[in-house]
């Protein structure tokens, strides 16, 4: 009789109505247990040998099992060819064995599957299939096509036999690990010598506000190398387009910059937009001193004392400083009131609106117009006036309560003395 087990048709050694003896039943059970075990495992002779070899040829069954390709049912032969189920044909060129794959052939080999939408759909319908075409437009891809085998190919970033999905935090291409992966080549001065490009990007990025957001706060949406440079189509953004890269996230700042007097000035001077003031990889937390005439001013790089730009910068800085001081003053008085047990929760909540206004004013800086910054600051100042008043009134109320308490205690104390004297008088 035929039965379907795990998708395969197998012949069972009994038929309905057959008189089963105990040994027959036992044998049947043993056979039934063996079939799925046998069907669930495909023999891989490659691992038999490679697990016993030394690096770089070593690969254990456990390591291979962690690979996303192995998990999807692919074997060594999927990339290297040959017949891993046979001892004789495992490394037989007639069975398609390719052995070591030349670096130059890797993108095309990976692309064979990863560019095939119909094939990839079987495993992950949402996975893109334009990696190879993107790679060909990248600096890496162009140089590889030009015969430079030192540039990054698929396996340099994704690893070879330890490929994991990008969503896996252990993956070399997980957002948390991308900067480190890129730094393997781009922070290596010897490796980059031939290309004449700097190797401080990783060190700079590690100091940046973007790295802090990613690594310290765990914000996976924070930018890393590939966010600005692209991943498979990696290339440095040009001077003319770098502002487009930043504006992907910093939309409003970009719009303000587009309408600002700096746009034309920067273009005529051949300066890139955002990075002129904020730098590229070492982007620090912006502060109000950047727009001032003080020590850490960015404006004084181009503007000289007395010109309209520096007058505007001073005006903007003064507006921002004023609101920040008002917020600090309000916060201090409300904290004092709260520590005294006064209920100032609503005022503390309102003060958040002032902080929001300060953030908006700081964003408005990118328009480089003091009047627009003043407009946002005014909204915050109105809030701080109310919150400061609330704090002052709370402290006045606290003092009033303490005065009331003192009077009450005096009255209670006098009553206690009176009662004591009364008792003494009665008992004498």
């Amino acid at each position: 009789m035929k039965r379907t087990l795990m998708g395969s048709t197998v012949r069972l050694n009994w038929t309905p109505g057959m008189q089963h003896t105990f040994p027959v039943r036992l044998a049947s059970l043993f056979f039934l247990l063996l079939v799925p075990v046998a069907l669930g495992q495909t023999r891989n002779t490659c691992l038999d040998c490679h697990s016993a070899l030394d690096d770089p040829l070593k690969l254990t069954a456990e390591e291979f099992a962690a690979n996303i390709h192995a998990q999807k049912g692919l074997t060594c032969a999927s990339c290297h060819g040959g017949d891993p189920t046979s001892d004789d044909n495992a490394m037989n060129p007639k069975a398609g064995f390719r052995g070591h794959i030349d670096r130059k052939q890797i993108p095309e080999l990976c692309g064979k599957c990863h560019s095939d939408a119909a094939y990839i759909r079987q495993y992950n319908p949402s996975l893109r299939t334009d990696q190879l075409s993107q790679y060909r437009t990248s600096v890496h891809g162009k140089k590889l096509a030009a015969g430079d085998a030192h540039v990054a190919v698929c396996t340099d970033c994704h690893s070879v036999h330890n490929i994991r999905p990008a969503s896996d935090v252990r993956s070399s291409v997980n957002p948390l690990n991308i900067a480190t992966t890129c730094s393997h080549c781009h922070a290596d001065a010897n490796y980059m010598k031939a290309y004449g490009i700097p190797t401080v990007q990783f060190a700079d990025y590690s100091k940046s506000v973007h790295h802090e957001a990613m690594a310290v706060r765990g914000d996976l949406s924070a930018p890393t190398c590939t966010t600005c440079h692209g991943n498979h189509g990696a290339a440095p953004p040009g001077v003319a387009t770098v502002k487009n890269v930043c504006s992907t996230c910093h939309v409003y700042q970009s719009q303000l910059f587009e309408q600002s007097p700096h746009k034309a000035a920067f273009e005529s001077a051949g300066l890139p937009g955002c990075v002129t003031c904020h730098s590229n990889h070492a982007i620090m937390h912006p502060n109000d001193q950047m727009v001032s005439t003080e020590e850490h001013s960015i404006c004084t790089t181009c503007h000289i004392e007395g010109d309209a730009g520096l007058v505007a910068a001073t005006g903007i800085h003064d507006h921002l400083r004023d609101l920040e001081l008002r917020i600090t003053r309000s916060k201090q008085i409300l904290d004092r009131a709260a520590e005294s047990g006064m209920e100032v929760g609503q005022a503390q909540l309102d003060l958040i609106q002032a902080a929001d206004a300060l953030t908006k004013a700081r964003v408005a800086v990118h328009g480089f117009r003091p009047d627009k910054v003043a407009q946002e600051v005014a909204a915050g100042q109105a809030v701080t006036a109310k919150t400061y008043k609330a704090g002052t009134e709370a402290l006045r109320e606290r003092n009033y309560r303490r005065l009331g308490l003192s009077i009450s205690l005096l009255v209670i104390g006098a009553t206690l003395i009176g009662l004591r004297l009364w008792i003494r008088e009665i008992e004498n």
Binding site: M342, E343, G345, L405, T415, L416, L419, E427
Partner: protein, 361 residues
């Protein structure tokens, strides 16, 4: 005839006033070196009166619904003239009342005032303490802030651990499977109607029993007095004892004024049923020893659920506490020592677990 005498005469003709207050004039109170402990009951009563008075004032503005409770308490604390004072006194007085009730109960235990014929006085007093805890638990939720919300959630979950009736009790307390506005409404009902009603009856009984049997004298003092009759001292209830009681009340009032004015009771943030419970959440201090005990009990003890075991143990201890005067060994001399030992263990356990609960993370 003076105006006061005329009023007295008028009342006497209509109520028999002189006859009514005659026992008070003759009532005496034992006077010895431990007499000060007698004031604790009076202070608890005084604080209860404050609770009732301030509670009625709060009722003028409080709104018992999930949408309005927090805002109405915020309004009382910030907008109503002296609202902050009334609320602060209500909250501090509640805590002081529970403290003095505990102290009164332990003083009665260690002075052995629960002895025959005062068993019913003890029983009504112990029940009044449990009611005070019920007041505390139900009142804590009423401001509908985050801490209160999660404390109620945990507290009602503990009630749900009681075998057989636990789930029903939890459902009854919450008014549904979760702590919601329905819980707030029924806790308000318990707090301002059910518990005060029962308390008034029990308090009346407790005071009537105190009047009926008088104030107990500790056995050691009684023995001394029996040996040396000239050492026996008593004071008149009116005015000597009452004036001293008044001094104790004024002292409690002063303490209450200092706490309410210098440490006004906070409001916290409005409860958000969808927010996660804040880290390190703890109940009010008078439930902390029980909470900490339940935390320390292993998940399984001899295949019995740890929390169930803890709840059962506390239930048994509470029941034993109620009937303590009845179970005291009386046949042999010194049988009371077992009760004293039980009291010492209880007070040490409650104090140490409360401190541990505060220090524990």
């Amino acid at each position: 005839m003076s105006p006061v005498a005329r009023v007295q005469s008028w009342l006497d003709e209509r109520f028999g006033w002189a006859e009514l207050i005659a026992p008070l004039k003759h009532k005496t109170v034992p006077h010895h070196k431990l007499s000060y402990w007698y004031f604790l009951g009076g202070i608890t009563l005084f604080l209860f009166v404050i609770q009732v008075t301030t509670g009625i004032l709060l009722l003028l503005y409080y709104r018992p619904s999930a949408n309005e409770a927090f805002e109405s308490v915020q309004y009382i604390s910030t907008q109503v003239r002296f609202g902050w004072l009334v609320r602060s006194i209500h909250s501090w007085s509640a805590n002081l009342m529970i403290f003095t009730a505990f102290a009164h109960m332990f003083s009665v235990l260690f002075l052995r005032a629960y002895r025959k014929p005062r068993e019913l006085t003890w029983l009504s007093g112990a029940l009044l303490l449990f009611l005070a805890l019920g007041f505390g638990f139900s009142g804590y939720l009423l401001p509908w802030n985050t801490l209160a919300f999660f404390a109620t959630k945990v507290g009602t979950e503990v009630a749900g651990q009681v075998p057989v009736i636990g789930p029903w009790v939890m459902m009854f307390l919450r008014g549904g499977p979760d702590v919601t506005g329905a819980t707030l409404t029924r806790f308000f009902g318990f707090h301002v109607a059910v518990l005060p009603g029962i308390t008034t009856v029990l308090l009346g009984l407790h005071l009537a029993l105190v009047q009926r049997f008088g104030i107990s004298v500790p056995p050691r003092v009684e023995n001394q007095w029996e040996c040396r009759l000239n050492e026996r001292q008593e004071m008149k209830f009116f005015p000597n004892f009452l004036l001293r009681e008044l001094m104790a009340w004024y002292t409690a009032l002063a303490a209450l004024a200092v706490l309410a004015a210098l440490f006004p009771w906070g409001l916290g943030t409005k409860a958000d049923p969808f927010a996660p419970a804040p880290a390190g959440i703890k109940p009010e201090w008078y439930f902390l020893f029980a909470f900490q005990t339940l935390k320390l009990i292993p998940a399984k003890v001899l295949s019995i659920d740890g929390e169930v075991l803890g709840v059962l143990a506390f239930g048994a201890a509470g029941a034993l506490w109620l009937i303590l005067p009845l179970v005291e060994p009386k046949r042999r001399a010194g049988g009371y020592r077992a009760v004293m030992a039980f009291g010492i263990v209880a007070v040490t356990y409650i104090a140490s677990m409360t401190v541990y609960g505060y220090l524990a993370k």
